[in-house]
């Protein structure tokens, strides 16, 4: 291998983007904290620890390659989330006749 090839792959531009999720304390879910660049998962975890938990903000970290996340299409906002529209009966607040009845 040409030594120049090695240098060309060393730039941070080939370091993938990772999304960082932090569990702030036991019993809670991991929540998205931010993102960072790192060459591999182990480095991403260490960087995430230094970047997002400098003040005991977490007891557990997940790092996920950003390109592994499938996201809903922002242009389809309306249609994609249409199904719950107009279905108020899925909420307890829809049922008003029981108001004033205890423990209900």
């Amino acid at each position: 291998m040409n030594p120049n090839d090695e240098v060309s792959t060393s730039s941070t531009s080939v370091w993938p983007l990772w999304e960082v999720f932090v569990r702030s304390s036991r019993g809670l879910s991991h929540v998205h904290a931010g993102s960072l660049h790192a060459p591999d998962a182990a480095m991403a975890l260490r960087n995430a620890r230094d970047l997002y938990t400098r003040r005991n903000e977490g007891v557990s970290i997940w790092v996920v390659p950003a390109d592994a996340i499938a996201a809903s299409d922002p242009d389809a906002k309306g249609s994609f989330f249409e199904s719950p529209q107009g279905k108020d009966y899925r909420h307890a607040t829809y049922y008003t006749k029981s108001e004033g009845v205890k423990h209900l």
Partner: protein, 343 residues
């Protein structure tokens, strides 16, 4: 999520496609306008006007660069901090600033700019950063004055930015503001201790406040009538208050706090205007501000040179980390292939 693709407009469009593109643009603008009038948030994959994207990219990347360059005046004092405790505090603060730079670079990346491009622009001297970091930190008391005045002004500026209309920017600012309050308090404490120390120490504290006061006031940017971009930024809910409004508020806070320090502000014209209900201050040297911003301040060359050095010194680490990652990947692939073969 941070990944975001800019949508390049193809050069030659058929009339139907042109019509369709115009329609999408109009729909996007209508959605964007609704978000603005609802004071809601724009997220990276939403349609946004090109000028909005450009303004944000400029502001967020400059903000990130400021955090990165801002490590230097204080890092220079780590080895000379007067006690182990102060050394540890200063290191934590400088580490925070690196972190703030990284949060902000991430936010800027969601607008479609690569981090490498931003780093390269900074190193090449093409990018701007806050003019305040081009002033030298001459004595230990400067660590106090920087924390109290410079971080104080930054907080004043940044708290309203937590509500900036661009989601990733606002979220980065929330995190940053939480961490900044320790920065200002530790600076205040340094000044308070010096002020209660020997006459020479008190003089050193006063001297640092004298030197940092005017540059800190100028951190809020040019006066409103000389700040052409402010109006648009306020219409876009990026900026919530004008430069002069924030500066006036800051002066009011400092007037109170400087009394506790037993020091004075180097400004005989500070007063509360009963009519406008605003704090006023003496004239600032905006020519100096422009000179420093244009790269002709006391430390511009030194700051950029140091940034370049640090980037070059770190090159071998980046090479090694990338090589190791590649090796691990190859190893995994080999193991996987062997397993497949065995099965």
């Amino acid at each position: 999520m941070a990944s975001q693709n800019l949508q390049p407009v193809p050069e030659a469009l058929s009339p139907e496609d042109q019509e369709r593109a115009a329609q999408l643009e109009a729909e996007g603008q209508a959605y964007f306008d609704r978000v603005m009038s609802d004071d809601s948030r724009i997220e990276p994959k939403d349609w946004m006007p090109a000028a909005y994207r450009k303004t944000l990219l400029r502001q967020i990347s400059q903000h990130a660069h400021s955090e990165i360059i801002g490590m230097q005046p204080e890092a220079n004092w780590i080895s000379r901090a007067p006690s182990l405790k102060r050394k540890a505090i200063l290191m934590a603060k400088v580490q925070d600033e690196a972190g703030h730079g990284l949060y902000l670079y991430s936010a800027a990346e969601t607008l479609g700019q690569s981090r490498d491009k931003m780093m390269d622009d900074l190193i090449a001297g093409k990018a701007r950063y806050s003019s305040i970091f081009n002033y030298p930190a001459l004595t230990w008391a400067d660590m106090g004055a920087i924390g109290w005045l410079v971080d104080g002004a930054a907080i004043c500026n940044q708290v309203p930015l937590c509500r900036a209309s661009f989601g990733p920017y606002g979220r980065a600012m929330v995190r940053i503001c939480k961490e900044e309050s320790f920065h200002q308090r530790q600076g205040f404490e340094i000044l308070l201790e010096l002020s209660n120390g020997t006459p020479a120490q008190k003089q050193m504290a006063q001297d640092a406040v004298n030197r940092w006061y005017a540059p800190a006031l100028m951190m809020f940017g040019p006066p409103d009538d000389d700040s052409p971009n402010s109006k648009q930024s306020m219409a876009w809910n990026i900026k919530r208050f004008s430069n002069d409004e924030l500066r006036s508020r800051f002066v009011g806070m400092m007037v109170e706090q400087v009394r506790v320090l037993g020091l004075t502000l180097p400004d005989s014209e500070v007063r509360f205007n009963e009519e406008t209900k605003k704090w006023e201050h003496g004239p600032l040297d905006w020519e100096e501000f422009k000179e420093v911003l244009a790269g002709r301040g006391p430390c511009n060359a030194q700051r950029l040179e140091r940034r370049r050095e640090a980037h070059d010194d770190g090159a071998w680490v980046r090479v090694a980390a990338a090589a190791y990652a590649e090796k691990q990947l190859a190893k995994q692939a080999r193991k996987h292939a062997e397993k497949e073969y065995a099965a």
